[in-house]
Symmetry: C2
Amino acid sequence: MGWGDLGVFGHPSKETPNLDQMALEGMVLPDFYTANPLCSPSRAALLTGRLPIRNGFYTTNAHARNAYTPQEIVGGIPDSELLLPELLKKTGYRNKIIGKWHLGHRPQYHPLKHGFDEWFGSPNCHFGPYDNKNRPNIPVYKDWEMIGRYYEDFKIDLKTGEANLTQMYLQEALNFIEKQHLNGQPFFLYWAIDATHGPVYASSRFLGTSQRGIYGDAVREIDDSVGKILAYLRHQDIAQNTFVFFTSDNGASLSSGPKEGGCNGPFLCGKHTTFEGGMREPAIAWWPGHIPAGQVSHQLSSVMDLFTTALSLAGLQPPHDRTIDGIDLSPVFLQSRVIDRPIFYYRGNEMMAARVGLYKAHYWTWSNSWAQMEQGVDFCPGQNVSGVTTHEQEEHTKIPLLLHLGRDPGEKYPLSVTSAEYQDAMKIISATVEKHKETLIPGEPQLNMCDLAVMNWSPPGCEKLGKCLTPPPSKPWKCLWTH
Amino acid sequence: MGWGDLGVFGHPSKETPNLDQMALEGMVLPDFYTANPLCSPSRAALLTGRLPIRNGFYTTNAHARNAYTPQEIVGGIPDSELLLPELLKKTGYRNKIIGKWHLGHRPQYHPLKHGFDEWFGSPNCHFGPYDNKNRPNIPVYKDWEMIGRYYEDFKIDLKTGEANLTQMYLQEALNFIEKQHLNGQPFFLYWAIDATHGPVYASSRFLGTSQRGIYGDAVREIDDSVGKILAYLRHQDIAQNTFVFFTSDNGASLSSGPKEGGCNGPFLCGKHTTFEGGMREPAIAWWPGHIPAGQVSHQLSSVMDLFTTALSLAGLQPPHDRTIDGIDLSPVFLQSRVIDRPIFYYRGNEMMAARVGLYKAHYWTWSNSWAQMEQGVDFCPGQNVSGVTTHEQEEHTKIPLLLHLGRDPGEKYPLSVTSAEYQDAMKIISATVEKHKETLIPGEPQLNMCDLAVMNWSPPGCEKLGKCLTPPPSKPWKCLWTH
């Protein structure tokens, strides 16, 4: 989902009344970022509070290319990483993940081995359907075991776009909340639904209801579900005890537009890129009685801050034996403070850009390759900013491209290198970047190696269902990442 | 001001708390349009309820080129046109225009000859400063007479951007409202401020306060002023008797970005063009106790509707002896109804596009000329949609370019001509356009002729101020319109 997909963030269809209401009752953060413009590194950053370059969710196979977690990936979340649910567990929280995990699908990466107590959902995206010979269909887990597979037991009709998954995820969420509430049990719910990812689906009640086509139907279903979850918290009278945060894992994918493409508002490009359209996310913090209603904060903030903030709200400290990139936003939410901090924009193993205040310096620019363009894949359709949306990886490390995101949120007008404004701003940004790079120790890259043998052939529980498949012999190779 | 300049319409700076609050208390219209993407035809359409092609605010000097009302223009609003204040006067309204008139500056076009009872403002844009030899500085009027000139008596500091004009316009508005209220006098206030037009200015209290630079400062000052006007209506206890509508006369000018450029949200291009960025306007209707709070209406609507709606709210009928393009929106505001009607997009003398429902058909495409592009003037900076943002005037009258604005608000993906969707939608649009064209009788074009002799040399009242200037001899010529 993109920054501009919500009514409160300016989508002209204004089809998200529940999220808009959530914003009215809480705090909107228009300057909130993901840690990587692609799903699994973003989710790894959220759960570890650390940049993908530290937690291993990147590749060194190619320069500045994002990598994610398809079925053939060998790696996943290292045991050495401490995840938010692992830490919350220590203070008595019960943790559930509903939806897409995306931090590795091999046994050692199972979410219940990394702090979660319950799981309903899948390890990978709902790509497919596959033939179960060359590739298995993606399993759906309930806790430790597979209970079926996408397209087989969990239907997604690619013709009509109908699937009931978001409704199942909603019901799981409500059931989980109810049970914890009845037990007086503190809980952490990671409601990691995989809509609006392509192939885009919605349940029958929402299909065809949006001005925007099926993508809008999916947005409406998510909006409706969030409304139901918040209403349920109020109904159970635990809203005042429950901190809720809504965001997305990367900017809307524009290359799948218009049929399945979202909206990044006035920002440049989309998913995969380190332009604002790829990295800036819709973000709403909600906690009645604690976060005053109707606020806007221009705090520079990140998915990684949710790690540190959640720990803080639970009365815990972040780990001291490693670098944590997330900061504690509770003073922002509760006392409307603004904390000075930079944003680093990574694409794979490269820091592409850095933001300090309203200034953003691009050290590398790249939209997507000419080869992809020739195949009709375009991450910036209809947008072309000379020298900015480059189709080669262009290096600007000596003389960064500097933009003022206040006057120029669309990243169209690089400042003149000879201006005093450029010199003054770059002095501060350079010092910030230097400090960041000096202390950066990259983690072991987890997304380098692929192997057909590691795919979801025989997930735990497959025997009971008669759904075990035979993997091919192991033949690892260096994964190829095109963008 | 552009569609995307308000927080409620998605600007990331979220610096319009008063307009956002107005939206919360009233109705937002995300599908509201101007009648022409340039100031004076748009304002003529607002006050007459008629397309510029009918009321004369266009040119036949060149094809599909917008024209406006600079000092050297000979024409203006014809006596035969019936303006909103003329009609409201009949039922006892007192009418004031504050700000830019732009419907002609020669004596016969004076707003007090066309229904207004009072005026504080100027006949043209605040361009300048001029030398009073080759061109006179623009006069500022109080009612019938000039009381000074821009840059001379009404300061605009082009270096600092400081000018007190919006504050003066605000004070005039509050004074007018107070006086009418004390007299129990129904009133029509046309608060036609000329900010955020370039050269952009703001008063000292707002200068430097926006993330967005001086353009944002001006937006903040307008926002603050609207807040003060609404608060004053409430304070005087006449809010429930006062219908207020906020909108703009054309999309934000992108060619003056980033320093003085606004934001058109996710829409294509800006001012001067008939893409959505040029034609779609921010729009909020407010009438406490009558328009229910917090509504969004996707009614296709237009500045011309304000003519018919205002008449309706005042218990009057629109004139029956001429075509009125504006419809009565009161059922939309008061009963949340949606009325089926098309939108026609004109550029000068040409109908460039038409919208029916969510479909928009481009019959002609043009962003701006190659000649202008070579001079660095670009109406779609950073945007380039092949076959859509053409730099030649391209005709598609036989096979219109069809877009679905729901799935594709950015006008990036023309539908396939061979698709059933194209055929079905075009059947309806073609019939609508045919009907429109069949009955269209263009008015006498008012913006064809220019003459240095007609400029603001000696406006009424100049003698008292010793500010009369001598016009050159009359040498009329056909005005040149570049876009």
